[in-house]
Subunit: 255 residues, 4 copies
């Protein structure tokens, strides 16, 4: 079925290197980085899935998928990569309708994945100590049309959590152990904690603190993703590889 | 907030080794494997999150989470593990409301993950050549209360796909290359194909076939998960490890 | 060139599962585990490389290689695997003629690899607190005909090192940090320290102590070996895998 | 024991980034890349292990170890890394006195490791089709003072092997399968074949050919080395990582 870009649509342009540019067709005529000067209303009426030329470059025009939103976001802080977001969501059993808290918001990358998962009836509560991070992240959420699922708060999560009966809490802060007792109180019975930490000592201190509360199914894992290069001559793992992102620690509240 | 088991609830019992038993409180008095002879209506009125003794064993009683449903299912065929299901869902950008096809259904493990993700308004179409697999899998889906999101078909996906404009198609069959042209026709523009194959030659033949059609963002990856053992003496990767599950190949349709 | 088993030879029998049995042809008639009751002089005059029947089993008869000696040794303590021994020898630049110290001796596995490497003019000094380990290990060294390259000492290496100007020192003890200052004094300038530790905290304490002395090229690594299953249908990493052995830390003395 | 640089010594200079420069004290005054213009006889009488200033840079002066020779060689072709050389030597059970063949010679990296291992009484036979590679590699061997252990031949190993009763043969060529029958004939009973190949299809074809001859203990492996970053804040795997080098396939000749 042929589908065309409508008024109010946000589109993603994908160039031949699969670099992605998310553009709101209601946006104003401007210089769009990597694309050039365009009037975004130009895209209205174009056919989704087709390649077109803009300036001297070829772009496919597509409806933005979750991966497009994650790969097309503007970074300010370090982000949690899609591979780790995927494991976080799965191992915390996050699903449509859930109420989830994350701290901090960073560039909003995990926020986008969480908001997509809990939509349309759930809610993401997002704490960050820095208002500039929240503002930057919410621009990304807004471009992804997911801002309505997110409630932000300029707050240090180690100082307390206002919400109750949460389905899951994800901590991407340097000292997750300082928030564990608040997490315990804010989770519903059966709810999940996830912490993301690059260093061994962070994991050790966090697990030590987790063990002081009634958590079960405490586990730590590292996710490694190997890209495989496939050609007519055979296949092999890529020579380049991201060696480490962070350790993910999970725990589940019981009474 | 204290929450109690209500009539019609399905609960999960978690034993001290974190083995899980999903039980429908409407079920009949019977011998439940790993639990013993019980009348499931016994659980109505109990408090979620608390541990209780049944027979001589201790069980936590919880609302079944996605992970509980995946870990508690009864296996007939090999399953796609949660780690690979998570990457599949993320890299195919599957979300609430999507229409997704999978083949084959196996024991219904990936089906449970997909149904949870597309609920409440999406649909999973699940093909399998073997009716006994479909029947077995649907018992698992039924226990997980996700059967209403799934439409099954006794059919070989390499013989054709009836649905159109699908958001994603996931192939866990020995010869995914034979289904690629049908996949191309059944996907919406921008929709994703994912194939799961343990062997190098399967990946090579699949990618070769994918390249004959208008797919972009073709990539193959292997996900490795290392369990980390954390104790008061420090931490280390687990000595035991699952060395390989399968290669995941992704591609995205354009016109 | 056909080569036959001579008097005084030690041979290795390799069964159809590649399990290995090292046997001294001068040994007495006895029950040999996995082989049966045999008079070892029976093998004299047989052709190396050929398969023969003993009892109801088939065995290849070969001259024992380093790998045969490592795989055929009798274990009492945990051993350092060939994969880690190989990296230790390479990254410590151990070669023929070198004087090397190890502590503890364990079952003599690393000792066999070291003795093979420094032969014929070098020396391995091997400390262990437990005389029973030394005795057991030297039986393995003796069977491998490498005992003449090894000098053992019932001694705690953290109490001091008697030798001087060593080319390399390898520590496989629970508290390598306690031996670092003795190691520094016992190494020649340019000589290497290697420590083998399973846990993060062991590595951290060891590196902290190493940094208090004049060592350069301090590095820690983990070696992961994936077995690849190759068949006419293609190849894939093995489903079974050893997830972790230990971290190897290296450092090099300067003045 | 203080040891000083003597006449005819070759030294290694190690800068503060641990970059290495191998210099023959008999060499002529020249511009040495990364060091500057020096008269190498300047180093005679200096103390091994000490740091000294040359130009404005600090260098440690050391006796070249095997790792120095490998890290200090000049590259022309792709090299087999020390990690893979170590596994090759271990799994082929190569030791002092052995006769070993390699093809091709590349930049002489593996040749240096093999020559160090078989010294002083063994021999490395090294085939390469390209005379310029042999010339370049032998300059590296000469600088490492290992050239006397190596005999080179401008020859395609798939056309035949002149030597007999070899202890091991290592193939780093694009089509190792074409040399397998020659390898079988050239090995002693119990001798080892090793092939190094980056691609799946190379491994598959090689193993297929190996299975046509009387080889046992056929195995393929991939070695992955993770660098661990250790600081006072804890440790973690390095973010940067080499994702793949090559697959190593081993086999052992029987009659």
């Amino acid at each position: 079925m042929i589908k065309k870009v409508k008024n109010d649509d946000t589109v993603v342009l994908v160039d031949s290197n699969y670099k992605k540019y998310i553009i709101d067709t209601n946006g104003k005529t401007d210089k769009y980085k990597g694309v050039g000067v365009i009037d975004p209303s130009f895209f209205v009426g174009k056919t989704y899935g087709k390649q077109m030329e803009i300036g001297n470059k070829q772009f496919w025009i597509l409806q933005p998928s979750l991966m497009d939103k994650l790969q097309g976001l503007k970074r300010k802080a370090q982000i949690i990569l899609p591979r780790d977001a995927a494991q976080t969501i799965m191992n915390c059993s996050i699903e449509t309708g859930h109420k989830v808290l994350e701290a901090g918001i960073g560039s909003g990358s995990l926020t986008i994945a969480l908001a997509t998962t809990i939509a349309p009836d759930g809610k993401v509560f997002s704490y960050d100590k820095r208002e500039d991070f929240i503002e930057h992240a919410m621009k990304n959420l807004n471009m992804a049309k997911l801002d309505k699922y997110v409630k932000t708060k300029v707050k240090d999560v180690t100082a307390g959590i206002d919400e109750k009966d949460l389905d899951a809490i994800v901590l991407d802060i340097p000292n997750p152990w300082d928030a564990v007792k608040h997490v315990y109180n804010a989770l519903k019975p059966g709810g999940y904690l996830c912490t993301y930490s690059p260093l061994s000592t962070q994991v050790e201190k966090t697990v030590e603190e987790i063990k002081k509360h009634s958590f079960i199914e405490v586990k730590t894992m590292e996710n490694i993703q190997r890209e495989i290069v496939v050609s007519e001559n055979g296949m092999r793992p890529s020579f380049d590889m991201l060696g480490h992102t962070g350790y993910l620690t999970f725990a589940r509240k019981v009474i």
